[in-house]
Each structure stands twice: as structure tokens, then as C-alpha cells.
């Protein structure tokens, strides 16, 4: 049953693909599923076109399955593998007073966070 825009009618079918990856099967209408995921719509004509193109492009992507010994390599996310110049995140037990006040006073209106007024009009 679909109750809202983001509630998916996804069949969660596990099966063993090649190389023992566990995969989900996406719903029958992949395009509709993706539209909800990325918050973008396609027109009816575009939907027909993209179905064909997605098939072709996924076939291209599947070329990677033919590469032998690929699992021996670690994923390369960044070509230079430089350490991050950002500081390491520090965790605290509690939020500070300012954030606490904001959280307590925030209102949710139609999905938007309505912050308390800080100026007089």
C-alpha cells in the first residue's frame, strides 16, 4: 500500500547474484522508483525514452562484470589519496543551549522547519 510520495512499493527479494552479491530487486517500474528517489519527474514521452536508454546503459555498466580479478583491488575513491585537511570530528554528549532552544521551539509546517522569529517586523 502506498500512503505517500516517499513510501515505496518495493519488493524486497533477495537472491544470490554472480560473485555472491546480495541484491535487492527494484520495483517493476524502475523509472517511477527513481523519480521518487531523486525528486525529479519525467514526462510520459521521456519515460518511454529513458526506459530504453537505461537498459542500454546498464548493459554497458555490466561490462565491468567481465573484468577478471577485480575483487583483489581496493576501491580507489580519490586519485591522490591525500589525507583530509579537515579536523577529526569530535563528539559531545549533549547539544549546546542555543541548539537546544532552537530544537524545542521549531515547528514543522507542511514539512518545513519554521524557526522562531528573531526580529520584530
Amino acid at each position: 500500500m502506498r500512503t505517500g510520495f516517499l513510501n515505496f512499493d518495493v519488493k524486497l527479494i533477495f537472491h544470490v547474484a554472480d560473485r555472491c552479491d546480495l541484491v535487492y530487486i527494484l520495483p517493476g517500474d524502475v523509472v517511477e522508483y527513481l523519480e521518487r528517489l531523486i525528486l525529479i519527474r519525467f514526462s510520459d514521452d521521456e519515460r518511454e525514452r529513458i526506459k530504453v536508454e537505461i537498459d542500454k546503459i546498464i548493459n554497458l555498466f555490466n561490462e565491468l562484470k567481465n573484468v577478471e580479478g577485480i575483487d583483489r583491488y581496493e576501491p580507489l575513491f580519490h586519485v591522490h589519496e591525500v589525507p583530509s585537511p579537515l579536523r577529526v570530528d569530535e563528539t559531545f554528549d549533549k547539544v549546546d543551549e542555543e541548539h537546544s532552544m532552537l530544537r524545542d521551539n521549531a515547528l514543522l509546517v507542511n514539512g518545513y522547519v519554521k524557526a522562531p522569529k528573531t526580529t520584530v517586523e
Binding site: 519527474r41 573484468v67 581496493e74 580507489l76 579537515l86
Partner: protein, 490 residues
């Protein structure tokens, strides 16, 4: 009106202006006159800065530099800038309706650097929307046409920059290259284009497509101008966390030093990339390779999995694009739509549906697909594993040869709309160029010659930070072929 400045190389322009600084106005006039004559047919620009504004900028520049001698190194040289590089006060659309009215409040680092050496920005060049394309046909505004053959595309995504150079509408240009977007249009418009080593040129202010592969680079009508522009824009930038920590390098000096010493190099001819090219392209590019092999040692090298490299590239690029373009929501960036009495999801969806063109929406969708649960390991992570494998394969090749060569593009410039029905065909045409982006290595496209009036380019690729070697080989080849400073009769 004097047209002597239209095809004049940058190093000669500098000499002219240093003898009489006011010649720069004659030069500006001739460039704008050329734009007036050809732009309606070529459509290389999205935004052209009014001539009066350029005059005023240059007058201010002259006032500022009057007390300093010598003039800034590239004083007065007009540069066309791809429309995904932020320019303060000049509209930057990224070829998209999403940013149709966006005027950046700041300059990208590369633009700051160009301004520091006295260069003058006169326009923002057309491009595929968000750099997603290889033909400049996905621009939300209009396609750019190839000045050498107006019914054909100029390549992409920096097609406007290539076309502006080939049509004589700019003296140098900036492009950006995520999977070949500088080299592809360079090959198709008979100009020189360099994708620098990843991290050599700051990405601060470049509107992101696929951050781990995006790189800004120069395009020019000869090698020396390419070296001059690269020197101006390269160097460490603390505002870009992926910028390489290195001292400024003068590529002109290094190029001259290499041309003086003339070292003999070992060149690897990439067998698979020649075999996979059209006959005409292969023959044209081979003649250029013969020129190089007359002096250097050439050997054949093999790199399997070229089609797989295209697959890995598109998986990674689309995945990163899907994440990067989530910022275009109408709140942070993008179109503004009425939000009263509407849910956030509804308003957000409208902004993204109206703002992005079909190709961009398709790539975002596919990016989300390869990152979705279950498919991430099958596609995205596997592509990243392939990326490391490719890098190790290439390093093994570069332990035996100094550079590798191939056709930049395996096919001649397509006609407009030729690949509309089958996008995979045009994706596969990126086979030679995506490799350098996947591993972060530099690569250059050099004019190789014409076949039936259509340009073909030779690509040379090497290890990280080997730009001086690429420029050296380019200059050597240019000297032999004399394919320099060419302007198409539009």
C-alpha cells in the same frame, strides 16, 4: 578594421601591447567585430560581456598598472571562460535553466589568477548542461556549431571554448575536463587542449559535476599559449582541499628548457585505441605519430579493458553527479518557485524537474540507481576497484615508456543530432579520454590533421605532473606539422 589580431598568438600580442599599451583597444575592437560577424552562426557563447564594459575594465587596469613595470604577464589578452567557472558579476549558467539568472558573487580561483596576470574575460562559452555531454548539444540554450563544418558538433562539453578559438572569437579559453571535455572539443575544432594532473589547478569556483575527476584546463591555438595560460592558472589553493601542495611552476620556462635539450623519449602507441578508431581518424593520427617517431623511440603497448574503462567512468561520474546536484533545490541554489501552501517535496520536485534538462535528469537517476541499496557494491564499488586496477596497469606501462599516444576521439565530429537515438554510442566515443580522468593523470590533445575537411586530434598522456613533457612533445609536433593559429572561415 584590422584583423591582424584575430589569429595572433598570445606571446605576440604581449609584445605588441608592451610596445604600446593602447593597442589593446584595437585588439578588443577586432575581436568584437569578429564576434559580430560569426557568432550568430557558431553560437560559441552563452553570455558576451558588453564591449563598453570590457573597455572600462581595461582602462581601469591600465590606470592600475601604469605605475608598475613591466606590465602583468598576460596583460590585455582576451580569454573565453567556460560557463561552469564562477565569474564575479558575470552570469554563470552552467548551460542550464537551473542557473539561468545566477550571477556569482565571487571569482573562481582560476579567474582570480587570470585577472592577476592582466587577462580580460569577454564572455562565457557554451557547454553541455552541467558538463554532461560530448557534443554541446545538451546546452539548455542552443547547440554550438563546429566552425570547420557548421552542420557538425564542436565536441563537448567545452564545445563553446573550442569553437570560440577556432572561429577567432577569443585568443585563449578555459575549459573543464571530467571525462575528456577539454580534449574532445580541442580535437574537433583543431586547437590545443590540456587536461592537467588532478589537483594542479584549483577547482574552487568550478560548479561540480564529478568532483573526483573534474579539472579546469587551458585551450589555445598553439602550444606556447597553452603553457602561458597553464602557468597563470596552476598552483596550490588552500580553498580546494584536493589541490596539490606544490610551489608555482613556470611551464614556459620548462618548455623552453626541454626544447633546448631535446631529450629523446620512449613513446607507447596504445594498440587497442588505434584499432578501435575509424580508418580515416586512424590514418590521420598515425601520420602525426610518425612525425614523433622520426625522433623518439616508439613501441606498441597494450591496455585491455578500454570499454570497461568507459563503464567505470560513467558509473563514478553519474554517482558523484547524483550527489553533487542535490544542492539544486531552489533553496540553496537554483530556480525559485512559489512554496506557499505546498509540501517541501512538491516544491523541490518542481524546481528540479523544471530546472534540469533531460540528460542531466537521466544521469542523476542513473547515479541514484548505482548508489541504491544492493547495487552500490555491484556497480559503484566495482567501478572504484576497476579504477585502482587501471591505475596499476597504467603505472606498469609508464615504467616502460614515458608517454602513451592515441587518437583523442575515435570518430570524426558527428553531425548535430546524429547520436540522439543511441546515447551509448556517444558515451563509447569517450574511450580514449576517460582513462586520464579515472587515474588523475595529465593528457593533451594536439591537432593531427584534416580528413575531408574534418579535424582529428592526437592525444598524449603521461604520469602525474608530467605537463612539461606533454607540452614539449606538442611543441615539437606543432613545429613539424605547422598546424598552429588556425582560424576557420565561417
Amino acid at each position: 578594421m584590422s584583423y591582424k589580431y584575430i589569429s595572433m598568438p598570445v606571446h605576440r600580442l604581449i609584445e605588441e601591447f608592451s610596445s604600446d599599451v593602447h593597442k589593446v583597444f584595437e585588439y578588443i575592437d577586432s575581436i568584437y567585430d569578429r564576434i559580430h560577424r560569426v557568432e550568430s552562426r557558431v553560437r560559441a557563447f552563452i553570455t558576451i560581456v558588453p564591449k563598453e564594459q570590457v573597455y572600462s575594465y581595461v582602462e581601469n587596469l591600465i590606470r592600475r598598472v601604469r605605475s608598475t613595470y613591466p606590465l602583468p604577464r598576460l596583460f590585455g589578452v582576451i580569454v573565453g571562460v567556460k560557463d561552469n567557472i564562477s565569474t564575479r558579476g558575470i552570469r554563470t549558467t552552467c548551460g542550464s535553466r537551473m542557473l539561468e539568472n545566477y550571477i556569482p558573487p565571487y571569482d573562481a580561483t582560476t579567474i582570480e589568477k587570470l585577472r592577476n596576470v592582466g587577462m580580460v574575460i569577454h564572455g562565457k562559452t557554451n557547454m553541455d548542461e552541467f558538463a554532461m555531454g560530448s557534443t554541446t548539444e545538451t546546452s539548455a540554450f542552443y547547440p554550438t556549431r563546429n566552425p570547420w563544418s557548421l552542420e557538425r558538433v564542436p565536441g563537448g562539453s567545452s564545445g563553446g571554448s573550442g569553437a570560440a578559438l577556432a572561429a577567432g572569437e577569443a585568443s585563449v579559453a578555459l575549459g573543464s575536463d571530467t571525462g575528456g571535455s577539454i580534449r574532445n572539443p580541442a580535437a574537433y575544432t583543431m586547437v590545443y587542449g590540456l587536461k592537467p594532473t588532478y589537483g594542479l589547478v584549483s577547482r574552487y569556483g568550478l560548479i561540480a559535476y564529478a568532483s573526483s575527476m573534474d579539472q579546469i584546463g587551458p585551450m589555445a591555438r598553439n602550444t606556447l599559449d597553452l603553457a602561458l595560460t597553464l602557468t597563470a592558472i596552476s598552483g596550490h589553493d588552500p580553498r580546494d582541499s584536493t589541490s596539490l601542495p606544490m610551489q608555482p611552476v613556470d611551464y614556459v620556462e620548462l618548455l623552453n628548457e626541454l626544447l633546448h635539450r631535446e631529450p629523446r623519449l620512449k613513446i607507447g602507441i596504445l594498440k587497442e585505441l588505434f584499432e578501435g578508431s575509424d580508418d580515416e581518424v586512424r590514418k590521420t593520427v598515425y601520420s602525426s605519430v610518425d612525425n614523433l617517431c622520426a625522433y623518439h623511440e616508439c613501441v606498441e603497448v597494450s591496455m585491455p579493458y578500454t570499454k570497461e574503462a568507459v563503464a567505470a567512468y560513467y558509473i563514478i561520474a553519474m554517482a558523484e553527479a547524483s550527489s553533487n546536484l542535490s544542492r539544486f533545490d531552489g533553496v540553496r541554489y537554483g530556480l525559485k518557485v512559489p512554496v506557499e501552501n505546498r509540501s517541501w517535496i512538491d516544491a523541490y520536485t518542481e524546481v528540479r524537474t523544471r530546472g534540469f534538462g533531460y540528460e542531466v535528469r537521466k544521469r542523476i537517476a542513473l547515479g541514484a540507481y548505482v548508489l541504491s541499496m544492493g547495487y552500490r557494491d555491484m556497480y559503484y564499488i566495482r567501478a572504484l576497484r576497476f579504477r585502482r586496477m587501471l591505475k596499476e596497469n597504467l603505472n606498469s606501462i609508464f615504467s616502460k615508456v614515458d608517454v602513451v599516444v592515441s587518437p583523442t576521439m575515435p570518430i570524426p565530429p558527428p553531425k548535430l543530432g546524429e547520436f540522439f537515438e543511441d546515447p551509448v554510442k556517444i558515451y563509447l566515443a569517450d574511450v580514449s579520454t576517460v582513462i586520464a580522468n579515472l587515474v588523475g593523470y595529465p593528457a593533451i590533445s594536439i591537432p593531427a590533421g584534416f580528413w575531408n575537411g574534418l579535424p582529428a586530434g592526437l592525444q598524449i598522456m603521461s604520469k602525474s605532473l608530467s605537463e612539461p613533457i606533454l607540452l614539449y612533445l606538442s611543441a615539437q609536433l606543432e613545429e613539424r606539422t605547422k598546424l598552429r593559429d588556425l582560424i576557420a572561415e565561417v
